[in-house]
Structures are given as structure tokens and as C-alpha cells.
């Protein structure tokens, strides 16, 4: 690998470490008040879908329509990933013919692309799109309101975890510390 590329990768690694530490500090600082969990909606079977019911804890923080839009878009992404059509049949037939060894080189629709391996795309990787969308939403909508959405893939696709951070300028700082200590006393 040429030195420039190596340096670029090293730089990105450092940046990511820094970024993660920022996030870590954020999560474990005293301003984390509460976490709200948006559960799965199983009304259509085992397909991945989240409830669009607006949690009461977020009423004062974010508009209902914004929240519902976010959840509906996420649901659409997952529905797209799990859609079964001609593409998935082709993927399955080819995979079966190669004794599923093709999964070693191929990215399925769900998974992110890897730059280091040669891959055959049958469909765009959806997880990457989802992560990007969540990042955008956090940036534009939720972070300005003191909220942070966690990608459901990090929670076993069980819940969408929304962390609520208390504004330090408000009078809720005492309740913040008490609820934080309550959550840590486990």
C-alpha cells in the first residue's frame, strides 16, 4: 500500500478514535437523563419494523411528526432490505449453485461494503444507508434537541434507543443527577 494511502488510513483511524471518545464522554456524562426504547412492531410478522407510537418522554423534546418520519423511513429501509423479488431469487440460486461459498466474497443486500475485499453487488448495502440516515437525523434533528438515536443494529434489532440529554442551563440538573444515579444503581 502506498505511503499516502497508509497515512490517510491512519489519519482516519485516529479521527474515528477521537470521535468515539467524544461520543463516549457524551454518553457517560452526567447530562444523560433517560433512555427511551422504541420497540418492534410485529403486526406483520417477523419482518423488521418499529412502532411509530410517539413515546411520552419525548413530547417536550421533539415534534411528533419528525419522530414519526424518522421511524417510518427506517421501516422503509428495512423493508427494502428484506424485500424478496427477482433479485433475491437470483442471489439464492447463484449462492446455492456455488454451495453458498459466494457469500464469502459477496455482500448481501443487508451488509456494508468492504473496501478490502472484492465483492459482487447484487443490491446496494442497506445497513450503510441506514447508518448514514441515522447520522443525518442526529445531526439535523435530534442533536440540536439534546437527543441521540442509536442504530438498532447495535441493539440486536430489538429497539431504537433514544438517549435524552438534559440541558445544563435548565433547572432540571438536579433531576438529571438523581435519575442518572438511579440508572447507575443497578
Amino acid at each position: 500500500m502506498e505511503p499516502r494511502r497508509r497515512r490517510h488510513i491512519a489519519m482516519q483511524r485516529r479521527a474515528a478514535k477521537l470521535l468515539f471518545h467524544n461520543l463516549q464522554e457524551l454518553r457517560h456524562s452526567a447530562s444523560l437523563v433517560n433512555k427511551v426504547f422504541v420497540q418492534r412492531d410485529y403486526s406483520e410478522g417477523t419482518t423488521c419494523k418499529f412502532q411509530t407510537k410517539f413515546p411520552s418522554e419525548l413530547e417536550s423534546r421533539v415534534e411528533r411528526t419528525l419522530f414519526e418520519d424518522t421511524v417510518k423511513t427506517l421501516n422503509n429501509f428495512y423493508a427494502e432490505a428484506e424485500k424478496i423479488g427477482a433479485h433475491s431469487y437470483l442471489e439464492a440460486c447463484v449462492a446455492c449453485a456455488t454451495a453458498y461459498l459466494i457469500f464469502l466474497c459477496m455482500e448481501t443486500r443487508y451488509e456494508k461494503a468492504s473496501v478490502r475485499r472484492p465483492f459482487l453487488h447484487f443490491k446496494r448495502p442497506v445497513l450503510k444507508k441506514i447508518a448514514k440516515y441515522i447520522q443525518e437525523q442526529n445531526e439535523k434533528v435530534y442533536a440540536p434537541r439534546g437527543l441521540l438515536i442509536t442504530d438498532p443494529i447495535d441493539r440486536g434489532m430489538r429497539v431504537i434507543e433514544i438517549s435524552i440529554y438534559e440541558d445544563r442551563g435548565s433547572s432540571g440538573s438536579s433531576s438529571a443527577s438523581s435519575s442518572t444515579s438511579g440508572s447507575t444503581a443497578r
Binding site: I9, M11, Q12, R14, A15, A16, K17, L18, L19, F20, H21, L23, Q24, E25, L26, R27, H28, A30, S31, K35, F37, R40, Y42, S43, E44, G45, T46, E82, I84, S88, Y89, A92, C93, C96, A99, Y100, A113, V115, R116, L127, K132, I134, Q135, N138, E139, A143, P144, R145, T150, D151, I153, R155, G156, M157, R158, R168, G169, S170, S173, S183
Partner: protein, 487 residues
């Protein structure tokens, strides 16, 4: 002065990793170090090849399965093929070879693939679920089984609460006591394969038993032909062919018994696939019409054999939930680790926007308290905005960040009420920034400070981030955002 509260380190995560039955991490790494998710995995699975390969605790009969297949095929190629190539066609060993490869590959994929293990609920989630459950007046240690009823396709389905994983199991998920995991679309735990059969490896298992039934039928047929045609010759030869006769008989016996069991199993699973059932459901009779009276059909069935087959076998391959590496380490290398000192160095750099925080909990490193003084909204904004900047541009010196924050706080209308109290923070940060930047140069000095980070790097690194979607060096088989759930 508001003191910063930090979550205590929970040694449970580390204790779980120390439980017996875990594949030991690579030797030679000195503790403390960044732990992998699979290293602190609380189930009874074993992980190899850096977490890529997963096996149940008791792989039990898998060597025997492999041995039987290899021995039978070996005998077939050694004895039957030379005879049949002469008398029939050269394609006999070719077909046999292809089937053999198919069977072994499917078997290994079934055994070594994550069947769809659901990671256990984080403590926050578990507490949230507890709050929602009505636990009034229960004095026993273990309350009665909790169930939650949901509607799936207009049919009532009960979700059970898993006491081990501390969550309500999604539909069709079951807890395997051998592997001590909840597995999605749990079919059964197959001792021959040495793994659970679940959502992610059911197609491999199905192709294994189908190809195995073809293989055993093929070998049985060829062997029968061989025995029929070569019996005349056996009479003419002397007793040194006793070994050949023994091998022939062994092969025949194995094939005969295998055919009955494997063909039967293939037929059963073909029925399950066609009706979109799992073995677990079929055995329990969950959707049998005898139970429950009215209208208890299978809510997951699409009422068409073809659709059911396609959904079961041709559906997309879901991603692993149990990830093989922590988030940061995935960026570096598929199996690389961040040494604890590196983490400490990056901590110092990140906390360069320093305020003069006075009160310190005794176990906290000084740099960690710097974040407390900032407004969380600004922190959030800085963090999510910095994802673009940091990942696309060279990591700027820490001096640049407070200025960005100051601008963002000033222009953000929603935080106008909080801008006043946070303004002094900014001035503090700006003034102390140069001093903070110099003694703590970012990354790579390799200082071996015993900060909080080195005590439990897994805990410190446990941060699901939505912002690293652009990470370039991501291995395909696992989602990027793997992490150790914070205790």
C-alpha cells in the same frame, strides 16, 4: 458546583468473559486491553478465527459426522469407482466428487455460521422492560412467566420473557439451553452439526441434508451395482480380498442406515419449508388446529408452497447481531486491537477543550471531567458534525473545536436560552485550549497512563455511533457498529 457523575464500571462484563468455556483470546496480549464483543459474550458458544467462526459449546458429534462422510466417500472412491469407471462411465467419480464437496461445505457452513443469536439486552433496556411489566405483589424469587400478547396478521401470539437474556423474545425466537442464547427463528439444536439451526443457517442446513440424501443414495446405488457385478470375481480370487469385502460391507451398512434417517429428515424439513414452520413449532404444536379452537393457523405462512419456500430459503441473509469486533478496532483492522495507552492518548486529545473543572471523583482521570462543563447540545452538535470533518479531513488540532462550538452555540436559536450560562464555558475553554493542546499532543506518544480507560477499555469503547457509517475499512460480514454493551 455540579459534580460529574460517571457510571461505575461493572465487572460483570469482564466476569462473563472469564467464565469457563470461552475460547481464550490470543496469547501474548497484556491486560488491560480492548476486548472484543465475542470475548465477553455471555453465551456458551466458542469463537475461533478472531470471532468469525462460531461453534456451540459441545461440538459433540460433528467430528463423527464428518468422519462418517469422509470414510464412506473414501471407501467409495477407493473401491467402487475404479470398477465402475471401467464398466459404466467416467462420470461416476465426478458426480460423487461434486456431491461430496457440496455436502462437506454445507456442513461446515451450518456448523460454523452464527444461527441468528440475539445479543442479551443492555441493562437500560432490561430496566425499561421491568418498568413496563406489572410486578405488583410478587414475593417469589422468580415471578410467574411473563408474556406479552401481540397481534400478528390478526392472530394473537404470545411473546415470552427470557429471564436469561432479559428481554421479550421476538416471535419465533427460542432460547437454546445448550448454547445459552436466544436464537432467531429457532429450529432445533442439531448435535450432528454441533450448532443451533436458526434463521441465518437454516438454508445451509437444508442444503446439507438434501445434498447428503443425494450423496448417500448415489453411493448406495453405485455400491449396489458394484457388489452385484463384482461378486462373481470375488469368488475367483483368493482370501487377500477379505479387506475389500470388509470395506464393502461397512460402506453398505453405513449407507443403508444413513439413507433411512437422512431421507426421512429431508422429507420432514421439506414439509417444514413448504409450510413455513420450524421444528420447534411443529413439535410443540403451536399452530396445530387441535389446540385453541378457532382459527389458529400459522400466522407466518403465506398460504402458498412456492412463496413459503422462497421466503425461507431465498430470503436475504440477515446480518450477525453478535459482532466480532469493537467498533474502533473494526476501523483499524479486522482483528486489530487498540492498546489501552492509545485510548488514553486520544482521550487527552479529545478533552482538549478544557475547562478548569475542580471537583474530581477520585477514580476519574483529569481529562474526563472536561466534558462536563460543556452544554450537552453543543457537545452533541460538535460530535455529530465532527464526524464529517474528522473523517474527511486531517484531524484538526484541538484548538479549532471550541471556535466551532462557539459559533454553533451563538447561531443556534434553540439554545439561545442556554447560551448565556455556557458562554463562560467557551471562554474558559478557549483560554485553556492552548495549554491543553501542548501537553497532550494527540495520538501516538504511547503514554502508558493508568487512566480509567485502561481499566476497562471495553467499557470505555462501548459506544454505538451512528456517525461512522463512512468507515472505509469495514469487513463485509459484520455490521460496523459492533460493541460491548455498557454494563
Amino acid at each position: 458546583m455540579k459534580s460529574c457523575e460517571y457510571q461505575q464500571i461493572d465487572p460483570r462484563a469482564l466476569a462473563a468473559a472469564a467464565a469457563p468455556g470461552f475460547a481464550p483470546p490470543r496469547a501474548g496480549k497484556s491486560a488491560p486491553r480492548a476486548r472484543r464483543k465475542w470475548e465477553v459474550f455471555p453465551g456458551k458458544n466458542r469463537f475461533y478465527c478472531g470471532g468469525r467462526v462460531i461453534l456451540a459449546r459441545q461440538s459433540g458429534v460433528l467430528p463423527m459426522t464428518l468422519g462418517l462422510i469422509v470414510v464412506t466417500c473414501g471407501l467409495f472412491f477407493a473401491f467402487d469407482c475404479p470398477f465402475l469407471v471401467e464398466h459404466l462411465t467416467v462420470f461416476i467419480p465426478v458426480i460423487g466428487g461434486v456431491l461430496f464437496v457440496f455436502v462437506v461445505v454445507s456442513l461446515l457452513q451450518t456448523s460454523l455460521t452464527d444461527p441468528g443469536i440475539l445479543p442479551r439486552a443492555t441493562p437500560d433496556e432490561a430496566a425499561d422492560v421491568e418498568r413496563q411489566i406489572d410486578t405488583s405483589g410478587s414475593s417469589s424469587y422468580r415471578p410467574p412467566p411473563r408474556t406479552r400478547e401481540i397481534l400478528i396478521n390478526q392472530q394473537v401470539v404470545k411473546l415470552k420473557y427470557c429471564f436469561t437474556c432479559k428481554m421479550f423474545r421476538p416471535p419465533r425466537t427460542s432460547h437454546c439451553s445448550l448454547c445459552d442464547n436466544c436464537v432467531e427463528r429457532f429450529d432445533h439444536h442439531c448435535p450432528w452439526v454441533g450448532n443451533c439451526v436458526g434463521r441465518r443457517n437454516y438454508r445451509f442446513f437444508y442444503s446439507f441434508i438434501i445434498s447428503l440424501s443425494f450423496l448417500t443414495s448415489f453411493i448406495f446405488g453405485c455400491h449396489g451395482k458394484y457388489m452385484a457385478d463384482s461378486s462373481r470375481k470375488l469368488n475367483e480370487l483368493c482370501g487377500c480380498r477379505a479387506l475389500t469385502v470388509l470395506c464393502t460391507v461397512v460402506e453398505l451398512v453405513i449407507c443403508f442406515f444413513s439413507i433411512w434417517s437422512v431421507l426421512g429428515l429431508s422429507g420432514f424439513h421439506t414439509y417444514l419449508v413448504a409450510s413455513n414452520l420450524t421444528t420447534n413449532e411443529d413439535i410443540k404444536g403451536s399452530w396445530s388446529s387441535k389446540r385453541g379452537g378457532e382459527d389458529t393457523g400459522n400466522p407466518y405462512s403465506h398460504n402458498s408452497i412456492f412463496t413459503n419456500c422462497c421466503v425461507t430459503l431465498c430470503g436475504p441473509m440477515p446480518p450477525r447481531q453478535v459482532d466480532t469486533a469493537l467498533v474502533l478496532t473494526v476501523l483499524i483492522d479486522r482483528r486489530g486491537l487498540i492498546p489501552a495507552d492509545d485510548v488514553a492518548a486520544s482521550t487527552a486529545a479529545a478533552a482538549a477543550a478544557a475547562s478548569s473543572e475542580q471537583e474530581l471523583p477520585p477514580f476519574m482521570a483529569k481529562s474526563d471531567t472536561h466534558m462536563c462543563a460543556q452544554s450537552p447540545k453543543d457537545l452533541l452538535e460538535r460530535v455529530v458534525r465532527s464526524s464529517d470533518r474528522y473523517l474527511l479531513c486531517p484531524p484538526g488540532t484541538p484548538k479549532t473545536t471550541p471556535q466551532g462550538q462557539g459559533a454553533s452555540a451563538a447561531t443556534d436559536p434553540s439554545s439561545s436560552s442556554s447560551s448565556e450560562p455556557s458562554a463562560p464555558d467557551f471562554t474558559e475553554r478557549r483560554s485553556s485550549c492552548p495549554s491543553a493542546a501542548t501537553p497532550c499532543p494527540p495520538y501516538g506518544r504511547g503514554t502508558k497512563r493508568a487512566s480509567l480507560h485502561s481499566i476497562n477499555p471495553a467499557f470505555r469503547l462501548a459506544s454505538p455511533s451512528p456517525t461512522l457509517s463512512r468507515a472505509p475499512l469495514v469487513r463485509g460480514d459484520a455490521p460496523v457498529l459492533g460493541f460491548v454493551p455498557p454494563p
